[in-house]
């Protein structure tokens, strides 16, 4: 048994140095590694390059706090609780951030390429759209395409050389320094078991140079190895682990707790301006740690989010029914 992968929240955030490229587990408002996101903001991390299969509240918090220089992805918002990413939108308007747009499937295929060690992926998606407009290569226009971590081209247009199937798009592998995952269980040696939808967790974990896994609980490896077919990610793909219950709040965790919609709606409503963001961050991020954050949220709120373990979600009470 080895415990040398264990780190603290503070150490997890320190691994993400200024200028790092970074990606996350989860999907829109589910299973985002919020405890580390908050810690990155507390530590005033700068010049991050986020590369995400899809964005969400975690994008909005980091962007609002001024941690991010480049965002490469396809979507940002809070689903039902906020229709777009107001912080990103404001910073795009003020030219304080570079945004590189791909489609959702393109982002997924880019991570799949990186996860398989391939330099690029090939797809037929999004043909004919402005996503492929050569004038809209934002990182190219900014002179960032050095061919090292950032690909020399946003796209290559080509034709199927094998079966004459017509137009194809080559998209570069998503090369990222660090992936931070937020899951239900991780073993002491790093075996990950994700319950519910996997989203793009296996791909981002394998694509990143350093993979950090925060979990609702760290469990004995022996327990996970009894049913290896139910495990999601193998030990050696994981570099660091940390124990962090309720670490995804305000996003949801399948089988553990639902999305805190009221919290997200409050964030969305009150952070349209920078002043609004700063005062939200002052109340909910700065001067707190994970435990005092949970204390501030309080037991009634957290119990109200708790999933039913048979259903894996919290059934609605149908207050408005019939």
């Amino acid at each position: 048994m080895s415990t040398d992968k264990r780190i603290t929240l503070q150490q997890a955030a320190e691994i993400v140095t200024n200028g790092s490229s970074l990606t996350f587990s989860g999907f829109t408002i589910w299973r985002r590694p919020f405890a580390v996101i908050y810690e990155l903001i507390r530590q005033h991390r700068k010049n991050l390059h986020l590369i995400e299969v899809n964005g969400g509240p975690q994008t909005e918090f980091l962007v609002g706090a001024g941690c991010v220089d480049i965002w490469e992805s396809c979507w940002v918002g809070h689903e039902l609780y906020g229709k777009y990413g107001a912080n990103l939108s404001r910073k795009v308007g003020n030219k304080e951030i570079l945004v590189e747009d791909y489609s959702h499937a393109e982002m997924l295929f880019r991570f799949t390429a990186a996860a398989t060690g391939a330099p690029y992926a090939v797809t037929q998606t999004s043909l004919g759209t402005d996503i492929h407009n050569p004038e809209y290569d934002v990182l190219g226009r900014a002179g960032k395409r050095d061919g090292k971590r950032i690909a020399k081209h946003k796209y290559i247009f080509t034709e199927d050389p094998f079966f004459d199937a017509g137009a194809q798009i080559l998209i570069p592998a998503a090369k990222v320094d660090v992936a931070i995952l937020c899951v239900q269980q991780v073993g002491e040696e790093g075996t990950v078991r994700v319950n519910g939808q996997l989203y793009s967790d296996p791909e981002v974990a394998r694509a990143a140079d350093i993979t950090i896994v925060m979990a609702e609980e760290i469990v004995p490896e022996e327990y996970l190895r009894r049913h290896a077919d139910q495990n999601t990610i193998a030990t050696f793909e994981v570099d660091y682990i940390l124990d962090c219950p309720f670490g995804a709040h305000p996003t949801g965790m399948f089988g553990k707790y639902d999305v805190d919609g009221a919290f997200l709606k409050d964030f969305y409503t009150n952070t349209r301006t920078q002043e609004g963001f700063d005062s939200f961050a002052k109340e909910w991020i700065h001067g707190l740690d994970h435990i005092s954050y949970l204390e501030k949220l309080g037991w009634p709120r957290m119990l109200n989010l708790r999933a039913n373990t048979a259903l894996n979600y919290r059934p609605r009470e149908h207050k408005g029914g019939k």
């Binding site: 408002i29 489609s103 799949t112 996503i131 407009n133 996997l198 989203y199």
Partner: protein
């Protein structure tokens, strides 16, 4: 008593939901987006299309959620599914050509069904940055048919969208950017394209030959001329065929008592 509800018994969201539900055929594989389309697809499953197969973009295949999910990544999506996995499965299945129908939304649409969800104004100097594409162009590129559900305002039904996020019937061929028919660009990957727009004013369809949108039905209270006046482009209203079919009383019961009793996506009409 008619099986169809009278106008005071339903709201606009009910009408859109039922119109969307009727686009689904039995046994089809349907890609669901968050919101009203989820209710529409589950309504079809409970009425005329019991054997439809529902795919949630976040990674659930043939899902049968017992309680309405609030987004496609929701824990509720996985319950009762044939398989729960991830985005790689959802998108590779779509690119492989399994998907018959997808429901999508948009901020702007043009005559050819090109849709924008990315920005308003010049992309490099936008007046407003929106959410971005999400899976909109992917589902639209891969599915045999797509149906868009949109708020109808003149500023949204435009001559040229600010940014083509999702491909319609006539699209830009890069690197030059000249408009060509979608069939020409997609080659062997061509499977179809937008088949309908269901707006808050009416239902629109597309002529696959010239790629133009035309008016199919008007929602109750709207005339073809009203709707023509609500588009910046020259809308063909010559094929209009009366009013959009009202919801049935059974559909309304299913929406409000079974599928969305908490009015998460479909508000109940207030009785006068």
């Amino acid at each position: 008593m008619s099986i169809y509800a009278s106008p005071e018994e339903y709201g606009l969201a009910d009408l859109l939901c039922c119109a969307a539900s009727r686009e689904v055929q039995d046994n089809e594989i349907v890609f669901a987006g968050t919101g009203l389309p989820m209710v529409a697809i589950m309504l079809a499953q409970k009425t005329h299309a019991p054997d439809l197969k529902l795919i949630f973009e976040a990674g659930t295949l043939d899902g049968r959620p017992p309680e309405l999910p609030t987004s496609v990544g929701d824990a509720r999506c996985e319950t009762g599914a044939s398989r729960s996995s991830g985005l790689f499965d959802a998108f590779s299945i779509a690119q492989r050509g399994y998907v018959d129908l997808g429901f999508l939304g948009g901020a702007e649409v043009d005559l050819y069904g090109n849709v924008n969800t990315t920005c308003i104004g010049d992309y490099l100097n936008p007046e407003l940055r929106l959410t971005g594409s999400g899976g909109n162009p992917d589902i639209n590129a891969f599915a045999k048919r797509t149906v868009f559900i949109m708020v109808h305002e003149k500023r949204r039904f435009v001559e040229n969208v600010s940014y083509i996020t999702s491909p319609g019937w006539r699209v830009k061929k890069w690197p030059g950017g000249e408009f060509v028919h979608r069939r020409e660009l997609y080659g062997a990957a061509f499977r179809g394209g937008p088949s309908a727009v269901i707006s808050t004013a009416g239902v629109f369809r597309f002529d696959e030959q010239d790629g133009h949108m035309y008016l199919d039905t008007c929602h109750p209270g709207k005339t073809p001329d009203d709707i023509k006046g609500m588009c910046q482009f020259d809308l063909d209203v010559s094929r209009a065929q009366g009013n959009t079919l009202a919801p049935t009383r059974e559909e309304l019961r299913l929406i409000h008592e079974v599928l969305d009793p908490d009015q998460i996506f479909i508000p109940k009409v207030k009785k006068a």
